[in-house]
């Protein structure tokens, strides 16, 4: 029997071919379905678009690698992220990847999967990771987490250049122009000059908005100041040196002088108080990432267009920039370690890093010095160049500082989260204790952190 010239055998052959072809063509679609689910808990970004880009990058990688990437954003408001980390570490269950702030990778090192292979490949491509991030992420010779792009911030000076010029005679745009060079006056940009400027601006009604409470903004900038006086609260071996260290005493004496020119309520300020003081036009200078400027651009454009970012003043031991890095860590109890490493490597490459930094208006700082030249820092404004000097550049002649480094992580994490440095200053400047009394208190607290 034949159909229009086709034999029964031809029809069968054609249908068999069609079945095989159909199956073959359909096969990739079947295999393209994600078989792995990767659960990520990233830091809930201050800059709203910062979450969107992370979601986008994860989806992109997930599509290409046939992995279902589920992303949660965990806020640091009310220390919710620290609570989540502690809960998951206790339960040995939760996300595969989690964002860890500052001291947390070290504190949870034994529960984090080593990521030397990923870091090795990234370093081979982009050069060394900054020493502060390496110190925090490496334990017992192994990288326990990857220094993250999203969320990592520095807290240099963010100031009203018009007010500093008018009341303190400082032309910060000339000192640190939006170019790879410094200008006149940089050699005099030290804590003594800063004190004089603070006094003048205070007298003019624009006190510097420097928090002195127990939140990270306060602990970070006070930590950088003490570091620039070569102060060590605890040494590398865990020995408490705070009472005998001349750097601590010198930094403390300086802070007591500076506190007289700060608003009288800085002891209760949180991480938003300094932002508000600049945006409202009450302060001439704060130490903060560009998020304050970004909010001012939206809510108080007349303030934003007079802002400028530039490095911290130098102390006897050099110039240090407060650094609050985030890290991406993989729990050792994760069931998808290979996929997790793949995603983190993708998020850390230059293209992904630039997309994160650009979307966050320059807020996110990559851990590689070779990435300090993203376009966004040059083009963002008004005023154009406002965040040019936000990332650390060679001509700044500065180093990133982490409060309480180089103390062992188990002690430093307690000192950091209990804000021992700001409380030390507050005891003298606000509480009326002598320097020796305050140092004795700090020594006892730090010793007890090491016990048990």
């Amino acid at each position: 029997m034949a159909f229009d010239g086709m034999s029964r055998r031809d029809v069968l052959r054609a249908s068999a071919l069609a079945t095989v072809a159909g199956g073959t063509l359909a096969a990739p679609a079947v295999h393209a379905q994600a078989t792995t689910t990767l659960r990520c808990g990233f830091w809930d970004h201050w800059v709203p678009a910062g979450n969107g880009i992370m979601r986008e990058l994860c989806a992109e990688w997930g599509r290409n690698n046939r992995v279902d990437v589920q992303v949660d954003f965990i806020t640091s408001v009310g220390n919710q992220n620290l609570l989540t980390i502690a809960a998951q570490a206790q339960a040995r269950s939760g996300h595969d990847i989690l964002s860890f702030p500052t001291w947390e990778p070290s504190a949870h090192a034994r529960l984090l999967e080593p990521v030397d292979d990923v870091v090795g490949r990234l370093v081979a491509k982009y050069g060394p990771i900054n020493p502060a991030a390496e110190f925090l992420a490496k334990r017992e010779g192994a990288w326990r987490a990857i220094p993250a792009v999203s969320g990592t911030q520095q807290k240099p000076c963010l100031a009203r250049f018009d007010l500093l010029q008018e009341h303190a005679g400082l032309d910060v745009r000339a000192m640190y122009p939006a170019e790879d060079r410094t200008g006149p006056g940089v050699d005099q940009w030290n804590w003594d000059t800063f004190l004089v400027a603070a006094e003048k601006c205070h007298a003019a009604g624009f006190s510097f908005g420097l928090p002195m409470g127990s939140f990270t903004d306060a602990v970070d900038w006070v930590g950088a100041l003490f570091r620039s006086y070569n102060a060590k609260f605890i040494d590398e071996s865990g020995t408490v040196t705070v009472r005998r260290d001349p750097g601590v005493r010198a930094g403390l004496e300086y802070m007591v002088k500076l506190a007289r020119f700060l608003p009288n309520d800085v002891w209760a300020w949180d991480d938003a108080s300094n932002n508000r003081s600049l945006i409202s036009g009450r302060s001439a200078l704060i130490f903060n990432p560009p998020s304050t400027w970004a909010v001012a651009k939206r809510d108080a454009p007349q303030v934003a267009e007079k802002c400028w970012t530039f490095p911290m003043p130098a102390g006897p031991a050099g110039r240090f920039t407060p650094y609050l890095p985030y890290f991406w860590g993989i729990w050792s109890f994760s069931r998808n370690k290979t996929a997790a490493k793949g995603l983190l490597e993708f998020l850390s490459d230059r293209t992904s890093a630039e997309r994160q930094t650009t979307t966050s208006s320059g807020y996110d700082i990559p851990p590689f010095g070779s990435m300090a030249n993203f376009d966004i820092w040059r083009t963002e404004g008004p005023p154009v160049g406002v965040v040019y000097n936000y990332p650390l550049k060679p001509h700044h002649n500065a180093t990133q500082s982490v409060a309480f480094a180089p103390a062992p992580a188990e002690i430093a994490v307690q000192a950091y989260n209990q804000a021992i440095n700001t409380k030390l200053v507050a005891r003298v400047a606000q509480g009326g204790e002598t320097i020796d009394q305050a140092l004795t208190w700090a020594e006892r607290e730090l010793r007890n952190f090491a016990r048990g």
Binding site: G78, N79, L82, L83, A86, Q90, E104, A107, H108, R110, G213, S214, F215, P263, N264, D265, V266, W267, A268, W269, D270, S273, R276, S277, S280, R282, E410, V413, Q414, N417, Q418, K423, A426, R427, Q430, G431, W441, R444, E445, N448, F449, R451, G452
Partner: protein, 308 residues
Amino acid sequence: MAADGSVLVGRTEGVTSLQRFARRRSTIAFLMTLPLILVIGGLVAYPAVYAMYLSTLNRTMVRNIGLENFAILLDTDTFYMVILQSCIFAISAVLLKALIGFWLAHMLHDIPAKGQRKWRGMLLIPWVIPPALSTLGWWWMFDPSYSSINYLLNVFAVPSVPWLGEPWWARVSVIIVNVWYGAPFFMIMYLAALKSVPEQLYEAAAIDGATGFQRLRYITLPMMRNIISITVLFSLIVTFANYDIVRVLTNGGPRDLTHVFATYAFQVGILSGNVPRGAAVSLFMFPLLAIFAFFVLRGVTRRNKEEA
């Protein structure tokens, strides 16, 4: 029915000992209370015992160090401040809540029944708003830089008050918020107690020529003694364990001078990664409060027996 309360079951054909056991009243009672026992065991007893176990571990939770965490805490100046502040906070807040609640209850009791309901409803509002939310409202009013209360003070030429920046004002602020939140609870409990005092007692006292104070001293207070004791005990326990008000308002600052046990335990245990020491902080008041509760409840039981 047998003397032990079990239902007598005859040795009928086909009834196994298991079936007889299941038919006993004590077994049925046990089975019916089992869900509650499981809930209390899982959500109260287990966490409490686990917290006690945790407090005996070292920082990395791999070694038992007995009571060392408590010894370390007692060697820390900050912890002594926490004990002092917790006592100042709890005792002054409970006293103020009791006094204000007592006064409000009397005021309400004297309002005719028709208008009483709306006043009762309005006065209960602070107690029904979630404390974290209402504390956030208070924080805005006390905000270090933009306090609305200070704005009003300035209108009347009164200088600004550093509500949260100066230690004593910060202590006062957290107590004010706690009293604002908790006074309605005392009010409603005392109002219920007032309504149960027989009117004849007041009438008899009036005939005897008793003054208002004498009626309060010899009728109202003795009749309300049990409810006052239980309310104060309950509130003292809850206030000692308070967390959200201090956490939202001051975060324990300035200089740790407003920390209470719960906020300090959170700071030490969760934020600083020293869970065992945090557990020790949170357990510290347990024996003292247990002894206090024992004596208060024993007094209530004795008075009940005397009245019976």
